[in-house]
């Protein structure tokens, strides 16, 4: 007799269970990872500095992944996350250094860039019906060209006060971590409890059925893209604050990180499946592994990308294996329509 609570997959539709099977797996993996690292090199790992550093990295990785996940969830993708990040950084730099704009206003302008970029993606995708892959891929190149052209390749200076969020901490926990944590909490609430979140999950789950059930899928996809742009630009602001400089290359490495962490965190590539907690765990694992590898000089920096690619593949293989095993078990029970 199949029990109704079978699949504890991390969608928002299930009862508000925070801990799905997969997320639990992530939490356990993180725990193991942390223990291993702590044991191997207690000084470089269990120290206030290390905690601070790791928490900051994790926060940034999670935010970038969230930007990607928001689009994946509605059944699309955003290949321009890095591009949006870099163009945001350029605008931020210009406003702080060249136009003498006060920091708070510069941040607002930067975030608007993200919103605008996301809206542009969303418009082309929904109004013209062009696949998100091509649209965001093209925009990525557009932004990459723009950022090099406008900035001339040189980083912009930012005032020391701007580094507050990025460089300070409270009770040993970096502000970045807190900011991103708040965003993750809000996202989790959005997906699990709000109508907009439901609309996104439904659209990603089966866009036709969602539309034929009265959901405005176009508006939903548009809004998801705007949100993605906003998150990407927020990440750019945080990066600039951390580095105390607005470097136009910010964002170049984001694309692969956004996918890696989103996928490790359980985001469904087809759409309709997402977990904010999962993304957070994915970011943690990712950062810990990276940190560990750097600490132990296990991987020369040049090979970092191979490592990242391999990690994504591993995460996808693990997911697929779980699926196959579950399917095999299901096939043992006959389908309801005999």
């Amino acid at each position: 007799m199949r029990d109704g609570k079978t699949d504890k997959s991390p969608t928002g539709f299930q009862r508000p269970e925070l801990f799905s099977g997969r997320t639990m797996g992530l939490i356990i993996s993180t725990g193991i990872l942390m223990s291993v690292l702590a044991v191997q090199s207690p000084h470089s790992f269990i120290s206030k500095d290390a905690m601070f550093f790791i928490s900051r990295q994790t926060g940034l990785a999670a935010l970038i992944a969230l930007s990607q996940a928001v689009c994946l969830t509605v059944g699309g993708m955003n290949l321009s996350v890095g591009g949006i990040g870099s163009i945001t950084t350029v605008v931020l730099g210009l406003s702080l250094q060249n136009w003498g704009v006060p920091p708070w206003l510069a941040v607002l302008m930067a975030l608007s860039v993200g919103v605008a970029a996301g809206a542009l993606n969303g418009l082309i995708i929904t109004r013209l019906g062009i696949d998100s892959f091509i649209v965001t891929l093209s925009m990525m190149f557009v932004y990459m060209g723009l950022r090099s052209g406008i900035s001339g390749g040189e980083p912009y200076e930012v005032s020391d006060s701007f580094g507050l969020i990025g460089r300070e901490s409270v009770f040993g926990v970096s502000y970045i971590f807190l900011v991103v944590g708040a965003v993750l909490l809000a996202s989790s609430y959005m997906y699990r409890c709000t109508m907009f979140g439901r609309h996104m999950l439904a659209t990603g789950g089966n866009a036709e059925a969602a539309r034929l059930s009265g959901i405005d899928t176009e508006k939903t996809i548009f809004r998801a893209n705007v949100l993605s742009g906003l998150f990407a630009s927020l990440a750019a602001v945080l990066y600039a604050s951390r580095n105390l400089s607005a470097a136009p290359e910010t964002g170049d490495a984001w694309l692969i990180i956004s996918f890696a962490v989103a996928i490790i965190g359980g985001t469904g590539l087809q759409g309709g499946v997402v977990s904010a907690l999962g993304i957070f765990m994915g970011a943690t694992i990712f950062t810990l592994i990276e940190h560990g590898l750097v600490q132990f000089k296990a991987v020369p920096p040049a090979y970092m990308r191979s490592f990242l690619g391999g990690l994504i593949l591993l995460a996808v293989i693990v997911d697929r294996t779980r699926e196959i095993v579950a399917e095999k078990r299901k096939r043992q029970v006959p389908p309801a329509a005999g």
């Binding site: 109508m195 439901r198 036709e208 539309r211 005999g338």
Partner: protein, 502 residues
């Protein structure tokens, strides 16, 4: 020709087949019937090699068969036309039909398209598919896709052909065509096994019928020796009726939906009709006649070129399903519940409440109350008698009939009082079909709703409708009134409809 000896198959907790022995003779047409869960599809999967039996054996022409996969069965001349549409959408019809046996130029591997198209044409003509072989599958209707599947099976020249609900998307005319083909195949010595819910077919086409119930073979009869009610009794162990459910109380003063000269090129020409409160208005016609097309125009999925639609007496400008639902309380139950009607991976609760989230959302926190959702979903499950392990059960796990009920439930949850229902009982077994029929009828009679029923099942539409509009070539060519007056017989009404179809 093919014999099953004491086939048993168990899954954890369920014995799907219990000592089933059946014998299929060469050149016979044999129907296999039974309710959902009776074991039909398990049996088919065993015959085609997808499952392996736990006990018993399959003997073909004296030789005991051991299948390890679907390919093995194909090699032995056993083929199946399944219920699900399995075609390659981006390829042409010819490519789909000839997929297994493409004709190439010698050994170069280069496809000889002229020959492929010509061969495909032959099989397409056999099933009455009047389209160019180079046409792409993607734009075709479900019915045409099914004809392509059948053509493909014919091309495979199997000796033992199983058809699982092959006419579920076809109308009488096309089905008759198919039966002619099957008859000719039988004359050539092909054994045909027909899995179906439609008794009309069983008696019209098959020599013998075998009944499965709860995994057991409860009987095989010659079709000329058994009547439909007896067959039903064998299947479900109790009586069942196909009679009209009684006269509906149509309130002609309360007009719910009116179309006036609605026209859209290629979809509808000058369509006009009125739907009243308490009425079930049937749309009957052949595939492509324009019924679903008109429905989609009414709910705003497609744009109208000229003409007007009035909802509750007021002119309506409907811009899409969302509009139709939220502004006009008009719902549309699609014919394709799996692809377009449901989120299969989501729980039943979600599929029922998807239409009313905006109604139960808290304006301040934007939170959707889980408690409210559960309450509404549980209420629907109860009143529609949806058989499910709970409102959290994954919708994909429900049987076809119960999935269909969920598909209808979400419009009821949204308080729609106009409902357009498109092919509600496709792939649904007798028991559930009856329940859905009673449900639809009850919605009109007691629920005071106005229902447009689109169906290609003559029995179903005559059973439920008080008026029937006959469609042909995107036009409404006839209106049959007072179907439910208790005086008209099924025979006279179906004959009249048949006349208009030409």
């Amino acid at each position: 020709m093919l014999e099953l000896h004491s086939i048993s198959k168990s899954f954890p907790g369920v014995k799907a087949l219990d000592n089933v022995s059946l014998a299929f003779k060469a050149g016979e047409s044999h129907a296999l019937v039974g309710e959902n869960g009776a074991g039909k599809s398990t049996l088919i999967k065993i015959i085609t090699g997808i499952y392996q039996p736990d006990g018993g054996k399959i003997v073909c022409n004296g030789e005991t068969l051991h299948f390890r996969s679907y390919r093995d069965s194909l090699d032995k001349g056993i083929d199946i036309v399944s219920q699900e549409i399995q075609v390659i959408p981006e390829s042409s019809i010819a490519e789909n039909v000839m997929l297994d046996k493409m004709i190439t130029y010698g050994r170069t591997g280069i496809i000889n398209w002229r020959a492929v198209n010509a061969h495909a044409r032959k099989y397409m003509d056999m099933v009455g598919l009047d389209l160019p072989p180079t046409a792409v599958i993607k734009g075709l209707s479900a019915a045409h896709k099914q004809l392509v599947q059948i053509a493909k099976a014919l091309a495979a020249e199997a000796k033992f052909l199983m058809l699982d609900e092959p006419t579920s998307s076809l109308t009488e005319h096309e089905a008759d065509n198919l039966f002619d083909i099957l008859r000719r195949l039988r004359e050539r010595g092909t054994t045909i096994v027909f899995v179906t819910h439609k008794f009309g077919e069983v008696f019209a086409v098959c020599d013998r019928v075998s009944v499965l119930r709860d995994g057991r073979h409860v009987g095989t009869r010659l079709t000329r020796d058994i009547t439909a009610p007896d067959l039903v009794k064998l299947m479900i162990g109790r009586e069942c009726s196909d009679e009209h459910l009684g006269a509906l109380d149509v309130d002609r003063s309360k007009e719910l939906l009116r179309a006036e000269h609605v026209t859209r090129r290629g979809k509808a020409a000058d369509a006009s009709f009125t739907l009243h409160e308490g009425e079930v208005l049937g749309f009957y016609g052949l595939v492509g006649a324009g019924r679903t097309e008109l429905a989609r125009l009414l709910i705003g999925e497609d744009g109208i070129d000229s003409g007007a639609v009035y909802v509750r007496g007021e002119k309506a400008r409907i811009r899409g399903v969302a509009d139709s639902l939220h502004r006009y309380r008009m719902g549309y139950v699609t014919e394709n519940r799996k692809e377009e009607g449901l989120l299969l991976d989501a729980p039943v609760r979600t599929n029922i409440t998807i239409t009313i989230w905006r109604r139960i959302v808290n304006t301040l926190t934007r939170n959707i109350s889980m408690a409210k959702e559960q309450e509404i979903a549980a209420d629907m499950v109860r009143s529609l008698a949806i058989k499910t392990a709970g409102i959290e059960q994954k919708t994909a796990d429900l049987s076809g009939g119960n999935q269909q009920k969920v598909s209808i439930a979400k419009w009821l949850a949204a308080d729609c009082d106009i409902l357009i229902i498109d092919e509600p009982t496709v792939g649904v077994d007798v028991g559930a079909k009856e329940q859905i029929h009673k449900l639809i009828w009850g919605l009109a009679k007691e629920g005071r709703m106005g229902i447009v029923l689109i169906s290609s099942d003559m029995r179903e539409i005559i059973k439920l409708a008080s008026r029937i509009l006959v469609f042909r070539d995107q036009r409404i060519v006839a209106e049959l009134k007072d179907i439910d007056d208790g005086v008209k017989t099924y025979e006279s009404v179906s004959a009249e409809i048949g006349r208009y179809l030409g």
